[in-house]
Assembly symmetry: C2
Homo-oligomer: 470 residues x 2
């Protein structure tokens, strides 16, 4: 057995649930199904209840047992009626089984609950034939069917290994916050390549855009046109008009490519472990001398994660662009949201703009030149000039506002920065923290500390393995 | 009489020599001619001696009397023999008349002397027919002839007014240090436009490139091809293959255009006066808060002005480019040379580079990516990362050297900056002055003080008139 195969054998033991764990999941699944069937039976248009997701496909991680209960309705049922029934009865079912529950939102609301350490989702869908989709999750039962028709015990092992690999590398999850690989995508990749090692060997040679069409349903050109913005295109075997990997960002795909290269070069079980938190004194030496600027605020109301992350990304990008327009270099930025508290950290080349700047005027042969000279000669913020270089007039001006926080406040007040409407008030009244010492003092402890740690390190966990051997 | 005509009448009085001054110049001219004729007579190939330049054309300024004595030789005389004779006998003539003299260099050496307040140049040339030029000054006698055939007393007055206008605006002089208008060019412009006011009215509407062809000898397209790098093209009436304005830089031409606009808008005699020197306390308030960096050194040997100014410009431009490559913004720079002491001042956006910088690596799909990650992971000057953004690897590095002077010293030592070979040693061992306070302390008094003053003001003198009335 090769080194890498030995590593995977060891990992398999860590990720595969044992008999007892499987039994416990199945018992709770039966209980939930029974309860749902009897309670939803009175709802008009109810068809059936089924287990979907990783439990139905036997691809769940030992450390992450989860049950997706799908409640199937006839197409005639209205969206509102279905959602109302799922929220009301789903909540009752969770309480009946003895679990805690809360309402979540994706394309439509669903009930999330916890029973022991098992995450349970109760989701409503329409019972439709292929292609007649009404809601986004109507494909799911067909996904389950397809995956089960293709997976073998060995491939199931490899799906689990891949999910664990992606989770440790922080590339797992299709939510906007992550922009990574979903469970279904992981399964399809294993099916297509015939195993974890085969997938990684191939991925280590990928150059985006990458197209994978398991069932050979579309041609390459067509796929590139249809999904022109996706760096990774995986045609859904159940619906050739859908890219299963549409959530995957170029950054996350690139991380996966590089992680594959590094793992193959240096295989070890450590790729499947979590990274230890850095201790505070390491934080200080990491932050020292860096030009950090942070924005902190609280969200006033609950906003679904995919919505808030979309808005935060857009807003941070807007601020970045405004900074660059003003003359800052933005090295990088990071966003964190934790229980309604938001922190955005920017690393810049400087925290203030030069106190003097050159203002370029028109060429001398334009009528405007004389007006420019007159205006700036009599202006109190003119430091030197106007002078002429080549055919243009220039003048050296005093800058009114130089500090990064004061500038951003001014831009926010004058609507000169592109920020999500929904968050404009939050940004405008946010706390602004200037300089690495202040940032460390305020974000170095408390809920944002792990995020600060990660931002200052700026290194995907899988990279650390490159220099080390087991 | 219009306001502007009144102004010109007043200026004429200031610039035209009186009878006594004319008499004095003519007397010295006769003396010099006589002395030259008798002394050069023994030299083989000597033809004659003549007065050329502004004295011969009666276009000299009252404040600047000057005599150009041309010694004409037969074309058969070698360059060396002619130069030797001019240097030796020219010097004797000057001493005989009671003047001081020194050797100067243009295309070939000549003797410069001073008698009372009159500047005397003794220059050798070849007596050749039009087009058979051997040395660059062989055209001069023909220039004198041409100008005298076209000038009237009124135009002579206007030539003097123009020369005075250009001198005050610091646009007068074809030497590299100035890059402005020669005396002959001034005369041709007055001849072409028929007067000072007519010239300025036209110039205020110029848009470079400007072509002036008094005798209509070439077509526009031909001229633009022949003199493609010249913003101002004035065809020499004596030689259609020569641009009389070839020394004029775009900056100086643009200054002339703008000065014309300003004068016509606001005519006054003050355009023909010198500007008073700023007092030191004004200097401090001018310099405050500006990011200044200066280089000071002494030239070890005499280098002709046109040579040294060429080399200094090229070197300053090389340093500017290197600064920009490294991440500095160069707002402007200025050069001064005074009796062998050189000062170059740069105004920048900052005096040090950020202590941390982002280093961009290859895309993840390149083989190099892994090597990049390995190298920077184990490098002690890596601060954070490597991380991935879109498809590339990046890393945050510590910058070894950040201060402008230390950086320039390093580049000089490693030959990583384009500096004139002749001045490399001088630059390498130069004194470097960082920050406005230091620059003010060291250059604010002494020989470079007027230059510092001018640099900090960065305003052509003629601009100040725009806001003021006589």
């Amino acid at each position: 057995m090769s080194v890498v195969e030995e590593v995977l054998e060891k990992v398999a033991v860590l990720v595969e649930p044992n008999e007892e764990e499987r039994k416990r999941l199945n018992e709770i699944a039966s209980l939930l199904l029974e309860e749902c069937r009897s309670r939803f039976n009175t709802v008009e248009g109810f068809v059936s209840a089924s287990i979907e997701g990783s439990a139905a496909k036997d691809t769940w991680l030992k450390s992450k047992p989860e049950l997706d209960i799908f409640i199937h309705f006839l197409p005639g049922v209205s969206r509102e009626a279905m959602e109302e029934a799922v929220i009301k009865i789903g909540g009752e079912v969770m309480r009946r089984i003895g679990g805690q529950s809360r309402l979540r939102y994706a394309e439509h609301p669903y009930v999330e609950g916890f029973i022991d350490n098992i995450t349970v989702n109760i989701v409503g869908c329409y019972e439709v034939s292929i292609g007649k989709w009404i809601s986004a999750v109507d494909r799911t039962p067909y996904h389950t069917q397809y995956v089960n028709s293709r997976l073998t015990p060995t491939l199931r092992r490899d799906v689990r290994i891949l999910k664990s690999f992606l989770t440790s590398a922080e590339i797992y999850g299709a939510e906007i916050k992550v922009g990574g690989f979903s469970g279904y995508l992981s399964e399809l990749l294993i099916i297509h390549y015939g195993g974890f090692l085969e997938l990684l060997k191939s991925a280590s040679h990928w150059r985006p855009p990458v197209i994978i069409d398991i069932e050979g349903k579309v041609n390459k050109k067509e796929a590139l046109t249809l999904f022109s913005k996706s760096p990774l295109i995986v045609i859904d075997p159940v619906d050739k008009n859908r890219n299963v990997a549409s959530a995957v960002t170029l950054t996350k795909l690139s991380e996966f490519i590089l992680a594959s290269k590094i793992f193959l070069k240096n295989p070890s079980t450590s790729y499947f472990m979590d990274k230890p938190m850095l201790v505070p004194d390491k934080l200080e030496s990491l932050a020292e001398g860096r030009e950090l600027f942070a924005i902190v605020f609280n969200l006033e109301e609950y906003i679904p994660p995919d919505v808030i992350w979309g808005e935060l990304r857009r807003s941070a990008e807007g601020i970045k662009k405004r900074f660059e327009m003003a003359g800052f270099d933005v090295y990088s930025y990071g966003i964190n949201e934790h229980e309604g508290s938001v922190a955005i950290i920017f690393e810049l080349d400087k925290l203030s703009l030069p106190a003097r700047f050159v203002h370029r005027g028109p060429p001398v042969w334009m009528d405007d030149a004389l007006r420019f000279v007159k205006k700036h000669l009599s202006s109190p913020d003119t430091v030197a000039g106007p002078w002429i270089e080549d055919d243009r007039v220039y003048v050296l001006k005093k800058r009114e506002e130089t500090m990064v926080d004061m500038l951003l406040k001014k831009w926010l007040a004058q609507a000169e920065v592109s920020i999500s409407k929904q968050l404009y008030k939050a940004f405008s009244s946010s706390r602004m923290i200037v300089g690495w010492k202040e940032v460390l003092k305020i974000l170095g402890t408390g809920i944002h500390a792990p995020f600060l740690n990660k931002f200052l390190t700026s290194r995907p966990v899988f990279m650390d393995h490159i220099l080390r051997k087991d």
